[in-house]
Symmetry: C2
Subunit: 379 residues, 2 copies
């Protein structure tokens, strides 16, 4: 555990600007970002003023205090009825008058919280119910500002994660043949990636073959893969919490005209998009490039919008246009890490293709974090 005081200080400045009296942390990624440690279901508060507060089970307190050393933090611990104790903690923290910050329209003090995939709806409802004196809002205006642009240490960890995905893809390619199942490949690929240091994957491994290569989301199934199938493989190992994303499409045996056209189109789209990964570009602009290419190749109706998304400690970070449509207008910044290849180009009844990598946004366009081969042919 290593508290990052600089990040906390910047978060507090941003909270003041956005009229938040604190950020409630309930997710591993925000916790990892500020405190350098990964915990499932962490509970901590960063108030707009003062040191961070940790909420933990009483039996965890000695370890937490030992790890924190002389850090000026508070630790609230409890046994028994967790929820009521946590509620009382919140009441004592948020119940008083706001500490002189900009007053929000509701007149209530605002508390920020992450509202993405890993924040369950019932926890948000529960928080609102037991803390009626505060207005709970998304912490994105603070956390995006901090987390979108990666520092050199983060970029190094993301390169490492991507290199682990590459080892997994090598293994998958080696195993791909008619008769093997997606489940068999996923079993070996996950083992390879964990042996190389991955904690696991941020999304289930996707191995979508044949007609299922059209799917937007993946599934590991136990049906044998057939000769002629398009096979989309999407690997998302995590290393020290940082997420990789590597997708490739393979053709088992002979490709035909339509499959070759899908593959060639995706490559053209991918490379054109990569060149545009520069500061100030929006995802809408990236999609416009892809659309023009797909239309020209008579595949315009078969490609979804949202070719790129942010990635870091979370599998999808801002901009995530397929989750939050307003993110189509988010402008890229130097040293953001984004994927290209999030969306499928798929013809109903035939199959789909995707090639996804992670890039660093630079003044000269996207720099791939790990340069993995693009070949599709598997004999």
């Amino acid at each position: 555990m290593q508290i990052n005081h600089d990040r906390i200080r910047r978060a507090q400045e941003l909270m003041a600007q956005h009229g938040m009296i604190g950020i409630m942390i309930m997710n591993y990624d925000d916790y990892r970002y500020f405190f350098g440690d990964i915990r499932s279901q962490p509970r901590a508060i960063i108030p707009a003023v003062g040191p961070p507060i940790f909420i933990g089970f009483s039996a965890e307190e000695p370890e937490l205090r030992q790890e924190l050393g002389n850090e000026p933090v508070k630790v609230f611990s409890h046994v028994g009825e967790q929820i009521s104790n946590v509620r009382e903690t919140f009441r004592s923290l948020f119940g008083g008058p706001p500490p002189g910050l900009k007053s929000p329209p509701s007149g209530k003090p605002r508390v920020g919280m992450q509202m993405w995939f890993h924040t369950p709806a019932f926890l948000v409802d529960l928080f609102r119910k037991v803390n009626p004196q505060v207005e709970l809002i998304s912490s994105d205006p603070v956390m995006d500002e901090l987390r979108m642009v990666k520092d050199p240490g983060e970029i190094e960890l993301m390169r490492k994660a991507q290199s682990i995905a590459a080892l997994g893809m090598d293994r998958a390619k080696h195993l791909l043949r008619p008769g093997v199942t997606g489940h068999e490949i996923a079993t070996e690929v996950l083992y390879t990636m964990m042996k190389a240091g991955a904690e696991g994957t941020s999304t289930p491994i996707h191995i979508n073959a044949g007609i299922r290569s059209c799917w937007i989301h993946g599934k590991v199934d136990k049906t044998p893969i057939k000769a002629g199938d398009l096979v989309v493989i999407d690997l998302t190992p995590q290393f020290e919490g940082y997420c990789a994303n590597l997708a490739r499409t393979f053709v088992l045996g002979h490709s035909d005209e339509v499959r070759t056209r899908l593959l060639d189109t995706y490559h053209e789209m991918r490379e054109a998009t990569r060149r545009m990964l520069r500061p100030e570009t929006t995802v809408a602009e990236l999609d416009a490039i892809g659309e023009e290419i797909c239309v020209r190749r008579r595949l315009g109706e078969f490609h979804l919008k949202g070719i790129s998304h942010g990635i870091g400690l979370r599998f999808e970070e801002t901009p995530a246009p397929t989750i939050i449509p307003a993110h189509r207008r988010t402008r890229l910044r130097e040293h953001m890490t984004v994927t290209v290849g999030h969306t499928i180009l798929a013809i109903p009844g035939i199959g789909g293709v995707r090639f996804e990598d992670v890039y660093l946004v630079t003044q000269d366009g996207g720099e791939v974090l790990y340069d993995y081969p693009m070949d599709s042919q598997v004999d």
Copy 2:
């Protein structure tokens, strides 16, 4: 894919009783329950009256129609702007007058949705924002009534999942020795369980050693395990979507008086609780048994409440008292599947113990789904 018409019919009867005009399905477990197939991020609606409606990407439609055969279902598909198309679909479905069902207090037609860990807060907020004409409520009153009691086919799958967890635990025991890391054990255990047919695990594998055995939630870390450590291992493989839960605590080398007392106390509590897994018992009553034992052994302050939870297609199902406190009053029913051993008995600075298994509730008390050894000593 195999639509379970009986389950849909019973769901529709319950919807009528609870004044819901439909249930929106966004989670793999409800989807698996009704349609016999596992998909990530599924989207389907079961209206109170009429056939189920599937919402999918246009390129997935041929496969869906092929799998559904002559089933009387509707499929809505779309390209491009997913959210706006889904919103229009909802509007056309829910915008009209409610089909003569019991009118809720708000006067708005009610739509049920799962609100557990896998339903992200932002999706619920988005649904409410784009569907202001309906009142979104938890689908638990319908789904719990259906899913709490398992049928013989479900129980068979849960036994299989639990037997896979047992293979994983054997592997973990074999690898446990001073110097090995939790990450190394987790890597091999996951591989073993997937080779045996698991799709993956429903929660990350927990291997908490030494002072970290006190943690409520787990972590796979890369710190070597030391002689004398208590090691809590919690395995949650899934088979065909059904969840296992097997936790054991090991002592590396010599146990001492306090560690032995923790282990013995947990075993007494576990066995006394198991005998009470009969219809009509509440989790509060189970906790009272455990508390009496812990107090008598002078460990009363060190045990959390919530020793049992429901389990099935979701890792935690009703009753889940550590998530939803009101579930402490839920009464067990015959052929529910529940765990015993969810909560840790932990002394701060020393360590914690847990032994968790899945049981079938019967008139004669809990019948363990898979009888795994309880020994703790590892030399």
